[in-house]
Structures are given as structure tokens and as C-alpha cells.
Symmetry: C2
Subunit: 583 residues, 2 copies
């Protein structure tokens, strides 16, 4: 075993080609066992093993600085930089995050998880080095899937004007999360086919020097190529071709399913857990119906069709009613605005965290123009992705303060269905829907068909003294808290606000008659959120207001239950806090 004895890059510097080959095998073996138990990113890490061994052989980290794009492919890097135990021993599997993390190691430059940032970050490292008069190599490692993101392209452009050391490893495995999309991929294909000779060369067009290496899974060839660019005095792109998922047959054969994977049986590749988001399934079914009924219907994805339950078969069935723009969220939102302007009925769905790329497009391209596109914001909840780089609960402050946008918060699958059915064909409002997290279940509450009467809340139950406003996925929490209050003799009013982006002023006004406290509950951050607007509304009155939610903070790999308790987000705690204020 070589891997067991590697405590840092220095321990593999003198390896022979044969030893590197054995090491690569050991690394894949460890990643396979870990993934089978722990789950996580798979294909990107299996594809880059040899390249990472080569990087740590040729360069001198942490003096030389690596920036891994997204960093979901950083497992091999972590193994070689003092964190092998987290991949070798089950009791240490949770010692490391799924991304590069400066708190774990001096070999990690950034805590990142969104795509297309590595070149931009690396230009900054390089310029800082020059200002200080230092001499290290700066190396960005970016996959072809990430290259379609605007930030990566802006980064290439700046790099193309810099006159200094900057090495961009373009790790081309001809895949994004799903298949790649965009005109640049024709160029990349031609470059692969011509061994780098094609005229369609994005990197040269951006003013950059360019080198090509056909087999990026040959550690010796990568080492030779890296030695040639080491200490180079100008920016250069080294294009290496690798195989996503290499070394594990199911992952080689089905790259999309094995980009990230739940725990599985090593022998067969069969999943040990069967997780499907019921809201994604419902969405996919609805899309199929809409595509059949409405020629103007179209779904946009920014390389995350799985967020909407769209596997390959379903995408193919949608045909011309489906369009993947690649990792390019800005493009997706602006294109949706253009589609709506010319009479189509576009829907763009993505995970909450990735909508962060679209603030300006939502505000300017879409909402200033009041174009009627629909946006589905998935996993917008504290229950979901809990990595600091993928938090899903900042969408309310980001999106709900944009004028003209109608941001809806369904409280059940039935209400989600009604909102989706209303939003897509209508041609009056830009609409976003905050899709509840997977555990928010069915309800028999009557559901409104039209949401044309903006900012009209539902009073589900009329009471007195205290009114609980439970937004979206937290309506159930409000209901449970009302039950607890009933035990204390309080008959609370229970409100489903439906609209995140506006206040039902008439209703809020009327509550003053026989209520002394209004409580808001939202599955998101409090700062800039829904509850604060209610607090502002009652600011000049006697009415008291309690806002439940999360204080703003970058939480990382938190425990859901613990975080909920800490922030009084259980029914018991809400009821207790209410009783305290009622006195």
C-alpha cells in the first residue's frame, strides 16, 4: 500500500511510473469503497486521478497554488495532501467536506462549490503574486462542463490579457453533469478530433497560448506536459482529455447517473437507498402533460435537469419543449425573458443555491420588462443540501425584494400543482415558485386555482390573540404550533400567505381587532426575508410580531434537528415563545 504512507505531496515526488500506476489504483479503490458507503461525487474524481498525481509530482503545493473548479473533483487532491484517512477508514469518512476547504488544509485555496469560478480566482492569486514579487505557479483546473459559465469565460478573457504565469488545466471529459450543451462544445470536439489543431479554438480566440494532450489519464504524459508549462511566463491552457468515471464500469457507462451517487453495492452499482424527490417527479409529469397540450410550452435547464426529475428518457420525450443551456444560469433566465416576450410559456427550474447567479437577470432582463416566465426554485429549504457552498435558504432575501416578481410558496404537493398549472400558461407576471422540500406531504386543505389576486393570503383557521403565518414548507410547523397552543387554551389564527413577495394589508390590518401577536415562520434566513416585512407593517402599532427562521450565517454540514432546535424551529418551542410574549 502506497496511499497509507502519503502524508503530503512530498511523499510521492520520487515515485516511479509503476508506483504511480499502483497508487492510482489504490486511490480509486479507496474512493470506490468510500462512495459505496458514504455517497458523494464520483465521476469527476475517478476521471482526474492521474492528472492530480501528476500535478502533485510536478508542482510544489502549497507554494504553487491549485484552484479546483467547483472542487467536487478534489477527492484525489485531498488524499495526497494529508487527508488520506478520510478516504481509507470508514470512521474518518466525515472528517472532510466534499469540496476544497482552507480550514482543512493549506493545500486548499478556496471553499467553493459553484461552477466556473476557478480561472477568475486564479487570476487574482496570480496578480497578487506579481504585486508581491513572488514567483510561484498558479494553476486552475477546470472541466469542460464548467466552461460554459459566464464567470469562467470572463476569467479566460482577463487571463488572456495577463502577461504572467497562469496555467489553466482544461480537463475535458465531454460531459457536464448531464451531456454538454452549447456551441463551444463543437469546438472542443474538433480539438479532440484534430489533436488540438482545429481552428475552432476558444482559448486562442481569448488571446491565450494553448497546448493539447490526448490522454489525460496517462500520468506520465500529463507529467511531461506539466513540466513543459511549469514556471511559464505567460498564461497557457493545457487541454487534457480524460474519461469521466474511469475505472468503474457502471460510472464509465452511465456518466450522468454517476456524476454524484448515493451509497451503492460495489459489485453491481445498485443503489442502497432509493431517493427520489416527489416534487421533482411531480414536476416532470406536469411538464410532459404541458408539452402535449401547449405548443408554446418550454422547459429550460442550466445543466441540472435532475432538479426537475428530467432523466434522459423524459428529456427526449419533451423534444423541442426542452432546452439545456449548459451551466449558464444567466443565459437561462434572460432566454426565458425573451421566450416570454415572444409569446412562449417558459419554465426554468434549478436548485435554490444556483439561482444566486441570476439576480441581475431576474431584476433587469425579466422583471423590469414584466415578462411572464416561470421559475421553479428547488431545495429552497434548510432541509436539503447542507454544505456551506450549496445552502438553499438565501433565495427569499435575494429574490423576494425584486419588484414585479411574484414569488409563491406552496405548502403541499396539491398547492404546488395548482400554482404550477396557473403560473406557466398565464402571460401577466414573472412568477417564481419555491418548491417545498421532499418531506412536505399531501394535504386535504382546499387549494386556490388562480393566483391572479396578488398578495391575498389564505386564512385557514380563524382564532384570536395570536395569528401564525406559516410560509410554504413551514406552514406545517405553524399548524403544529397552533395545536400546541390549543393545549394551552389559545385558539390561534392560522394563515397560509401563499405570496412571499407581498403583504395582504387588508388582512394584516384586520388582525389588529382581536390579536395581540402575529408570528411568522419561514424556512429560510430571517435577514431580508418574509417575516421582517410583517414586522415593518406593524412597526407603528401595538401589535407584537415574532419572526421565526434562521439568522444569517454560512452554516456548514449542520445537523438539521440541532439547527432547528437552536433556532426554536420546533412546534413546542414556537408555542413556548408565543406564550412568553402573551404573558
Amino acid at each position: 500500500m502506497y496511499l497509507e504512507n502519503i502524508n503530503g505531496p512530498q511523499d510521492l515526488k520520487d515515485f516511479t511510473a509503476e508506483q504511480r500506476k499502483v497508487l492510482a489504483g489504490e486511490m480509486r479503490e479507496a474512493m470506490l469503497r468510500r462512495a459505496s458507503v458514504h455517497g458523494g461525487h464520483f465521476g469527476p474524481d475517478f476521471g482526474i486521478v492521474e492528472a492530480v498525481i501528476a500535478l502533485h509530482t510536478v508542482f510544489d503545493s502549497p507554494k504553487d497554488k491549485f484552484v479546483f473548479d467547483i472542487s467536487h473533483q478534489a477527492y484525489p487532491h485531498k488524499m495526497l495532501t494529508g487527508r488520506k484517512d478520510a478516504y481509507l477508514y470508514e470512521e474518518h469518512y466525515n472528517d472532510v467536506s466534499g469540496y476544497t476547504n482552507p480550514e482543512e488544509s493549506e493545500h486548499d485555496m478556496f471553499n467553493v462549490g459553484h461552477t466556473s469560478t476557478s480561472i477568475s480566482l486564479a487570476t487574482g492569486l496570480a496578480k497578487a503574486r506579481d504585486l508581491k514579487g513572488d514567483k510561484e505557479n498558479i494553476i486552475a483546473i477546470i472541466g469542460d462542463g464548467s466552461m460554459s459559465g459566464g464567470e469562467a469565460l470572463e476569467g479566460l478573457d482577463t487571463a488572456g490579457e495577463m502577461d504572467t504565469n497562469l496555467i489553466i488545466i482544461f480537463n475535458d471529459n465531454d460531459m457536464s453533469i448531464a451531456e454538454v450543451h452549447g456551441g463551444m462544445y463543437k469546438g472542443f470536439r474538433e480539438l479532440r478530433e484534430t489533436k488540438g489543431k482545429s481552428e475552432r479554438n476558444l482559448f486562442k480566440a481569448m488571446g491565450l497560448d494553448y497546448r493539447f494532450l490526448a490522454d489525460g489519464n496517462d500520468a506520465e504524459a500529463v507529467i511531461a506536459a506539466l513540466q513543459e508549462v511549469k514556471d511559464i511566463d505567460h498564461p497557457v491552457v493545457l487541454h487534457i482529455v480524460t474519461q469521466k468515471g474511469k475505472g468503474y464500469k457502471p460510472a464509465e457507462e452511465n456518466k450522468e447517473d454517476w456524476h454524484w451517487h448515493v451509497p451503492f453495492e460495489v459489485e453491481t452499482g445498485e443503489s442502497k437507498v432509493d431517493f427520489t424527490d416527489p416534487y421533482a417527479e411531480q414536476t416532470a409529469r406536469t411538464f410532459q402533460r404541458m408539452a402535449e397540450e401547449d405548443e408554446k410550452f418550454i422547459v429550460l435547464s442550466a445543466a441540472t435537469p435532475a432538479s426537475m426529475g428530467l432523466n434522459r428518457e423524459r428529456r427526449e420525450k419533451l423534444g423541442r419543449h426542452y432546452l439545456d443551456v449548459g451551466i449558464a444560469e444567466e443565459q437561462a433566465v434572460a432566454m426565458a425573458s425573451g421566450l416570454a416576450r415572444n409569446g412562449a410559456h417558459p419554465v426554468f427550474g434549478d436548485f435554490s443555491s444556483f439561482f444566486q447567479r441570476t439576480y441581475d437577470q431576474l431584476a433587469q432582463d425579466l422583471c423590469v420588462n414584466n415578462n411572464a416566465a416561470t421559475f421553479l426554485v428547488f431545495w429552497a429549504s434548510m432541509y436539503g443540501m447542507n454544505d456551506v457552498t450549496h445552502l438553499g435558504f438565501y433565495d427569499i432575501p435575494m429574490m423576494s425584494n425584486i419588484p414585479n416578481l411574484v414569488y409563491l410558496a406552496p405548502t403541499s404537493p396539491e398547492e404546488y400543482q395548482a400554482m404550477l398549472d396557473w403560473a406557466v400558461p398565464q402571460e401577466k407576471y414573472p412568477v417564481a415558485i419555491r418548491v417545498p422540500h421532499a418531506m412536505v406531504g399531501s394535504s386535504s386543505r382546499p387549494v386556490r386555482k388562480s393566483y391572479d389576486e396578488l398578495n391575498k393570503y389564505d386564512v385557514v383557521q380563524s382564532g384570536s390573540h395570536v395569528a401564525l403565518i406559516g410560509l410554504g414548507g413551514f406552514y406545517n410547523l405553524a399548524e403544529a404550533a397552533a395545536e400546541k397552543l390549543k393545549e394551552q387554551g389559545i385558539d390561534a389564527t392560522l394563515i397560509n400567505p401563499l405570496f412571499i413577495t407581498g403583504q395582504d394589508k387588508e388582512l394584516l390590518e384586520s388582525l389588529k381587532e382581536n390579536h395581540e401577536l402575529v408570528v411568522t415562520l419561514e424556512d429560510g434566513v430571517l435577514d431580508g426575508g418574509f417575516g421582517e416585512k410583517i414586522a415593518r407593517f406593524y412597526g407603528g402599532d401595538k401589535m407584537k410580531v415574532l419572526n421565526f427562521g434562521l439568522p444569517k450565517k454560512f452554516y456548514d454540514r449542520y445537523d438539521y434537528e440541532a439547527l432547528a432546535r437552536e433556532n426554536h424551529l420546533t412546534a413546542e418551542q414556537v408555542a413556548e415563545d408565543v406564550m412568553k410574549v402573551l404573558g
Copy 2:
């Protein structure tokens, strides 16, 4: 006079080459007179006259659809589509906005003002057309300066995969607002020099068909080129070379100063008004000093150096301490994060509205990593740009709810100086400074040197009953309102909060002792803003809270005074509202 008789594109369809030449002259003459009185964009419009005449000659607007990028070059288009009076007659100069505007004309597809959106919007129009089975031409018109924006590049990539009519006019005048920056401009230069033959071809690299035309100011040549691409069955880029500011010597000679211009003497080009933002001047002076004292200091700009008072001479003097990334705000913020990570002291300044492109980079690339870069947010005020596309008062909800960011609100030039001097060299926090609008003048109030004690507000004057918290540029309003209250016998507490991103809980708690009302005043939108957090803080208490600011809405070309009065943002009105609550 031909122009006087043009009420729509149909009126110029049959013009001869000679008539078009005369018309172009008339259009420039009208624009020159209007600009000399009214001010506005100049160079972009003077450069594109012939191309727009050609577009309206060859294509059939509004069936064929034009999307002008930024649309600051849409004056000639407006003249030819029923809005000539707004350029011919002084009494009508204000009838049109400075950008395309669907409310003005069916020939305008979008209300836009930010860069780099046209291709993305056009892909949407084209795809919608195809879904409906229609046949019109979709034409995006984009300048070389805009091409560096990530959204434009994402749009090119999607266009490169579309198999349908989409015409991209690449209007290359070798200028952004200032000079162009980025590696792609080497490629564009080579394309100009080789008449489109160079290998460095960004458009071909993006999978697109490409045509080149050397003289885009020759209407007849443009007409011929457009006729060739009209009704084309696949996306194509037509690269035309034009001269920015063509036809007015001062603008031809000094393109940067004449990108946009205040009213001027036609004969000499001399400005009639002398406007310089004192905060921009102060910023530029400070940068010069910092560059001299700190080798690690660096200023980043995203093609708007004027926002920071950096004219060409000053930029040259800054030397390696200045870097313009082109129109690429995402790159600027991510690069700043990289710079800070590697020990530099970066500052990035831009107008408030353009920071909207950077939400994800601020949150992910920067703040998750807690890298100590400094951001200067200029014209973040209701007093400033009042076009709906350039509103400067949405930065507080957008930025202040991002964890880890320290967003400071200076109340005077002296305080701005202290904050700038503190923020840039420190290496602990990502800091943004909300630069006050030009009219916020000097003050003799004592100024804090260090802002390390986060979220510690200044109590400028201790009183009772009511506390006025005046944020940044609105501190003066709070002070004036306190004066008015004094006349009513109320001795108000006056607070300068300094920090937008946090609450001084100890102070807020202490106010409960002898205050019954806390008033917040912010020069921005209320929704998701500063005041709502104070309202939330006191929600469960007896304390009343009044928040002054603007309700969220897309205001357009508003009158400052009227908007202030409507929203009770005068000292008299604030005092009156306070007295009402105090009863």
C-alpha cells in the same frame, strides 16, 4: 429634410443611396443639437447611424425583431420608428427614455440598460418564434465592449447550438466605455486587420457562422451584407467595424469622454455644466496615495473607471496598481477574492446598479471564504441615476443579507475617508462601502478610525422618547428631522449606525429604557433593507418602529423631490409622522 417625414421604417424603404446619406447627416445633426442641450449617450449613437438605417431598410420591424444591447445606441432606431420629434424639437426631448422601451413603441422589444444581454434575449425570441411556427428574423445588435460580459458569452454559446434563424450584428468600434480590456480583443483586432480571416475567432470557436464587413459606416455596404443574412436558416455573426462618435470631431478624438456627455457648446465641445462627483475625486486621490504607500494595493474596474474618478491620466499613474477587467463584474469580484487570498489589498468600485451582476460572486467566491477585499458602491441612492434600468437603491437588500460581508454606510466625506483608509489595508473582513451621493457634504462630527468593532453604532446625540437612526446619506435627514422635533419639544436621540449589515443589540436594547419609538431612515428600498431588521429586533417588545425609505417598485425617470415627498422623506414629514405615533 427627410427625417421630418419619417414616421416609421416604411418611409425610408425606397430611399436611394444618396438619400440615405443625407438622412444620416440629418440624424447626426439632430442628435448633436439634442445632446448639446439635453446630454446623454453620444459616441455609441453617432457610430451606428448607417447600420441602423441599413437595418430598417433591409428588415421589416416590428415583425423582424431587433434587440439592442444596453440600448444606449438606440437613438437612431428611435428616430426611424416614429419618435423623430424627440430628437428634432427641444420641447419633445424628454418624450423618450434613453433606452429601448416597449411602452414607447412596438419596435422596441425590451427595456434594458445593463450590458451583454442582447444575445441571450434574442435566443429566447428565436426559440419562441420556432415553437409558434413563425418565420421572422431575430437580430441582436451588440458592441465589442459588451462582448466581455459573461451573459453575452453564455448567449453566444447557446446561439452556437441553435439550428435556426438568429442574426448577431457585432458592432466593433474598438472601445468599451473606456478602452477595451481582455484577451478577446486581441482576436477582434486580428479579425479587423485580416478582414475577418484570423484564426483567433471567438464566434467560430462558439460554433457560429461568421461574416466580416470592414466599413460599418457605409450604409450601402451594410445593406448588402444584411441582405445576404436575411432569412438565414442558422445563427450567424456579422462583424461590422464602425467608428465611435463618427461625425463629431471632439467625439471622434476623445471617445471615452464622449461615450456619454453632459450638455455642451456645439462649436467647441466644451461642457456647459461642470459636474464632478466629489466622492469620486476623493476616491481617486486616495487611490494614488495608497498605490504609493502599499505595494499590495490594487484597484479593479469593470470598464467604469469614471465611477471612481479615474480618468486616463490617473489610471496611467496607478500603473500596475490598476486593472480593468472589461465589462465583467463577476470576474472583478472573484478576482478580488483571489487577490485578497494571496495577500493583496484589492478594491473594486462600480455603480450600485452594476453590482447586481455579482450577487453569487460576493456570496460564494468572496464571503464564504471571508477574503478581505473592499468594494465601493457608487451612486447607491435615490438621488442619482433615475432610469428604471439603473436604479441605485437596491443594493441594500441585495448585499446586506449576505453573511460575513461588512457593509458600511458613511455619512460624510470625512467618514468615507476613514472607512476607506480602514477597509483597504485590513485583512479580516470582506467590506463594502456605500459611497454617499454627491450632495452629502462635509461634517465636523468626530469620526471613528477603526471599524473593527463590528456593528457598533454611534450615538451622536442622546435624548429620549424617540431615537432616529439615519443610515449613510440619510443621516442628514435624521438630523434635520430631529431639529423639527426639537421645535415640538422633543429631544430625540440621534444615531449614526455606520454598519448596514448588523444590529448593535446592546444599544438597541438600551433604548428601551427611555424611548417609545425608534425611527429608521435609509436612502434605499425598504423591502429587505436596514430598517426592517430593526423592526424585527423590537417585534416582541412595546417599542414602536417606523421605517422610512422607498417601497419596492421599478421607478422610472422620477422627480427626486416628488418621490421624496410621496414617501415622507422630508424632515417635516418625518417629524409629523413621529408626532402622530407619539400621540
